[in-house]
């Protein structure tokens, strides 16, 4: 998973309808970069049959020590 560059962020915020300056795009890249790096080992590895609601299934499972 690659963290977005300031140039890519500029384009993404344009598409989102909230364009930012080059300086702000650079600042955003620095702010969210660590999240992309931290999640890199997970991104692109999840199995096909996994939906977000699987969280509720795990949460509801009776687990005891």
């Amino acid at each position: 998973m690659t963290k977005p560059s300031p140039k890519e962020i500029k384009a993404m915020t344009d598409v989102a309808g909230l364009p930012v300056s080059a300086d702000v795009a650079a600042r955003i890249a620095g702010s969210i970069g660590p999240a992309f790096e931290g999640f890199a080992a997970v991104a692109g590895t999840l199995p096909f049959d996994l939906e977000p609601a699987s969280f509720l299934v795990v949460q509801a499972a009776k687990v005891s020590k």
Partner: protein, 468 residues
């Protein structure tokens, strides 16, 4: 037990009113007197409703005189984070944008406390839209820590932490999306319960995926009382889970002899301030003395959880605020607007991957802690920093500062687990330090049991800051 009603715990004052040892008016006046004394120093209240509170107290006393009690908290005055909708009241959410917003409904959590007999003292300060962990607020000024007024309270439930610590209210609702109950509990020396996602309805409380409603109070017992009153299914929030509730109050009376408490081998014990490290060791010693067995636990990579949490929080915040970001960007504080913009640059695929991974990540965590009843860890690596040094505004490194401060709380939000922050000691300079007990999904009872046992063996929760 104190003869000054404002210094009683929630459970003590509720009993005192029920037994007519104090009237609701006496208790409410005692709180209002402390508010008048402390508010200029703390800035903890958003609104103080003296006349309405006293009128409600008189009504509560009149009802009780006729033998009518509204419930377990009859006549107890409380104030809450100013994001809980109450019909007819201004609810600012700590923002300029909602400075004049009048709620037309009442949040379920608040309504359940009202149904139990509470009366309203006013509303409490908070970070703008609950989006900040320090207690700074551009529009209404920072909330000050009662233990050292040049220090932050933590956020986003900043007023809740300060007001409970200074004994201005017996308890206060907070909310915790990335640490917003546990951080102020830690920095202000009070007990704070972050509940499991789904344990308490979020209706009327600015809900997003990782949000949880919970109390800040003086003791684990007080938190147990409040949780029992608020928890359970709600037609207005389908994510609130149905089913029988444990007897949380009974859990607090149980011994912890034979329980196993895990200490992480990494992450939560890395790069701690030496005083926080000492207090963690001291806390473990007390828990051992009370009969718990302490074992080491190797947790899955918590940095991945923190990263996933940031992806989810940032995107949801940007999506919720997008309309105002377009129409009223000038009405946000600089740091909040800056952080909202972060979410615009995270692709939808990354957000959805982070949401899809929650199930496997929770399963892996639960497997890792299968041999223990709870995990203990610091809430934060440091005690309260100064207001000046943590006022990073919208500087380029602001997000990094915020992420460092909340690195021990965010993984728990991502997993939706419950955690109880308990006052665990003081630094040499007199600042409180809290530890968090982290439990399994919906096992708040275990955390309250351990927290109450710790509080029977220590007095950190009973210490009261004095006005300078």
């Amino acid at each position: 037990m104190s003869t000054e009603p404002a210094l009683l715990s929630l459970t003590e004052v509720a009993r005192a009113i029920a037994q007519k040892r104090f009237s609701s008016r006496e208790v409410t006046l005692a709180c209002l007197n402390r508010v008048a004394q402390w508010q200029p120093r703390l800035n903890a209240f958003m609104a103080i409703e003296t006349d309405e509170a006293l009128a409600a107290a008189d009504a509560a006393d009149a009802a009780l005189a006729k033998g009518n009690s509204n419930g377990a908290l009859h006549g107890v005055p409380l104030a809450h984070k100013d994001m809980y909708y109450e019909a007819g009241k201004i609810v600012t959410c700590g923002s300029h944008i909602r400075r004049d917003f009048v709620a037309t409904t009442t949040s379920t959590a608040l309504q359940r406390l009202k149904d139990a007999g509470t009366i309203r003292l006013g509303s409490l300060q908070m970070a703008e839209f609950a989006y900040g962990p320090t207690g700074h607020n551009t529009h209404y000024g920072p909330v000050h820590n009662p233990w050292a007024v040049d220090r932050v309270t933590g956020g986003s439930s900043s007023g809740s932490g300060a007001a409970v610590a200074a004994r201005l209210t017996f308890a206060a609702l907070g909310s915790d999306t990335g640490g917003s109950i546990r951080m102020p509990a830690h920095f202000c020396g009070v007990t704070g319960l972050k509940t499991t996602v789904g344990r308490i309805s979020r209706a009327g409380a600015m809900p997003q995926s990782l949000d949880t409603v919970g109390p800040l109070a003086r003791t684990a017992l007080d938190c147990a009382l409040l949780l029992g009153l608020m928890a359970g299914a709600d037609a207005d929030d389908p994510t609130a889970v149905a089913g029988p509730l444990p007897d949380y109050m009974a859990a607090t009376r149980e011994s912890i002899k034979g329980l196993k408490i895990g200490v992480p081998t990494a992450f939560y014990v890395d790069d701690l301030d030496p005083e926080v490290e000492r207090i963690l060791d001291d806390t473990i010693t007390v828990l051992k003395r009370e009969g718990a067995e302490i074992v080491q636990v190797e947790l899955p990579d918590q940095r991945q959880l923190t990263a996933a949490c940031q992806l989810v929080l940032a995107v949801e915040a940007a999506a919720f605020h997008k309309r105002w970001m377009i129409e009223r960007p000038q009405d946000y504080g600089p740091q909040v607007l800056m952080r909202l913009q972060n979410g615009l640059a995270i692709p939808g695929v990354s957000y959805l991957e982070a949401m899809r991974w929650r199930g496997p990540a929770l399963a892996a965590y639960l497997a890792a802690v299968a041999g223990v009843d709870a995990v203990i860890a610091p809430v934060a690596p440091v005690a309260a920093p100064t207001i000046a040094e943590s006022d990073v505004g919208n500087s380029p490194d602001a997000e990094a500062v915020i992420q460092r401060l909340t690195r021990f709380t965010r993984p728990i939000n991502y997993l939706g687990l419950p955690a109880l922050a308990i006052p665990s000691g003081f630094t040499k300079s007199g600042l409180p330090v809290g530890m968090q007990l982290i439990g399994r999904s919906f096992d708040e009872a275990m955390l309250l049991r351990i927290g109450a046992a710790f509080q029977r063996a220590t007095d950190f929760h009973a210490r009261v800051p004095k006005p300078a």
